[in-house]
């Protein structure tokens, strides 16, 4: 690979890291300043609302099957339903995901 391509990849890597770490450091400094002043630091409401919304948006975008078809959409609905159902019963992390993938796979294979 050419040197210029490596430079571009290095800049992209540093930039991506900066996007992850920069806002964290800035917010940590803001929180520490409040701590030193004995005042309570809080995230702005819009920012704390955006956290769960980003997860919801990731959920929406990831619901699209890898190979969209009638069978894969029905399997997605089945998988989501089973995941939610198992979560409601056990309130854990791994088991609902496992059951969701298993039911998605079964529905996908049976319907395809």
């Amino acid at each position: 690979m050419q040197t210029e391509t490596w430079i571009a990849i290095t800049v992209a890597a540093i930039g991506t890291y900066a996007l992850r770490v920069g806002p964290l450091l800035w917010t940590q400094r803001h929180f520490n300043k409040h701590k030193a002043d004995n005042t309570e630091a809080r995230l702005p409401t819009w920012l704390s609302v955006l956290g769960p919304l980003m997860i919801a948006a990731m959920l929406g975008a990831s619901l699209i099957p890898k190979a969209p078809s009638g069978a894969s959409w029905v399997a997605t609905a089945v998988g989501a339903f089973v995941t939610a159902l198992v979560w409601r019963k056990y309130r854990s992390l791994g088991l609902p995901v496992f059951c969701g993938v298993l039911s998605f796979g079964l529905a996908f294979v049976l319907l395809a």
């Binding site: 990849i9 964290l24 956290g51 919304l53 948006a57 995941t83 992390l93 791994g94 998605f104």
Partner: protein
């Protein structure tokens, strides 16, 4: 979701990160295949996964480089796709400890790790938080690197041999997001906001602007939240 168990922080992090494998490995294998097809060696593709470590933007970067696009434009587009990460760190700060390790660990702050950390960190003892984050992010990072290397070496034959697994395993990611989000469906305002956000992301991701789906859907959700909040406040002030 249940409270964190008595496991050590690192072990708990590794366990919590296991569901990510189903989503990460197939996508990383696809990245390895595409990067090699685009003219990168397996080593180069793997190094991209080591250092950039950001799914969609890696695909975009490799595709643009292979298509002969100007490199500055490829870098700008890469950063534009990753700009959504700026809200992740600040949202975690209230749950972080004073450890100096956090800035270094932020290389591992992907979408999925943020989703996990945002739910799990508030439940953990302070003494376990750094180790938990190390465990969960190492599982994710190593699976992404390993998947890319496998994809570069033998990805095409693997996906041809087990096409069903290739289609089924990625469902682990929406299942994981659903579990992480489920406790938030606690009142009408949040239910409506989350449903609007999920639907918007789904609809946008089905169209040509897939990369805009997450930030745009989140903004639509935020707008919904504010409209509903001001409506509720107005109703309460009328009632008083």
């Amino acid at each position: 979701m249940s409270r964190a168990s008595n496991n050590s922080g690192l072990k708990q992090g590794v366990i919590d990160g296991l569901p990510l494998l189903g989503g990460y490995i197939p996508v990383a294998i696809s990245f390895g295949v595409i990067a090699v097809q685009a003219g990168f060696s397996t080593l180069e593709a793997t190094l991209i996964s080591v250092f950039i470590y950001a799914g969609a933007s890696q695909f975009l970067l490799v595709a643009m480089v292979a298509a002969g696009s100007p490199l500055w434009l490829a870098v700008c587009m890469n950063l534009l796709v990753n700009v959504r990460h700026v809200v992740y760190g600040p949202n975690l700060v209230p749950y972080l400890t004073q450890s100096k390790a956090w800035p270094y660990l932020m290389h591992g702050l992907t979408d999925q790790i943020f989703a996990l950390a945002h739910t799990r960190l508030p439940q953990l003892d302070d003494s376990k938080k750094v180790e938990w984050f190390k465990g969960v992010s190492m599982v994710a990072w190593l699976s992404w690197i390993l998947g890319t290397a496998i994809g570069g070496v033998a990805g095409e034959s693997l996906t041809q041999q087990w096409p069903v697994l290739d289609s089924v395993m990625p469902f682990a990611l929406p299942a994981l997001f659903l579990v992480l989000l489920a406790p938030k469906f606690s009142n009408k305002r949040w239910c409506a906001t989350l449903l609007v956000t999920i639907t918007m992301a789904l609809v946008i991701a089905l169209g040509p602007f897939k990369n805009a789906a997450i930030p745009f859907a989140a903004l639509c959700g935020a707008l919904t939240f504010y409209v509903l909040t001001s409506h509720i406040e107005r109703k309460q002030s009328h009632a008083n």
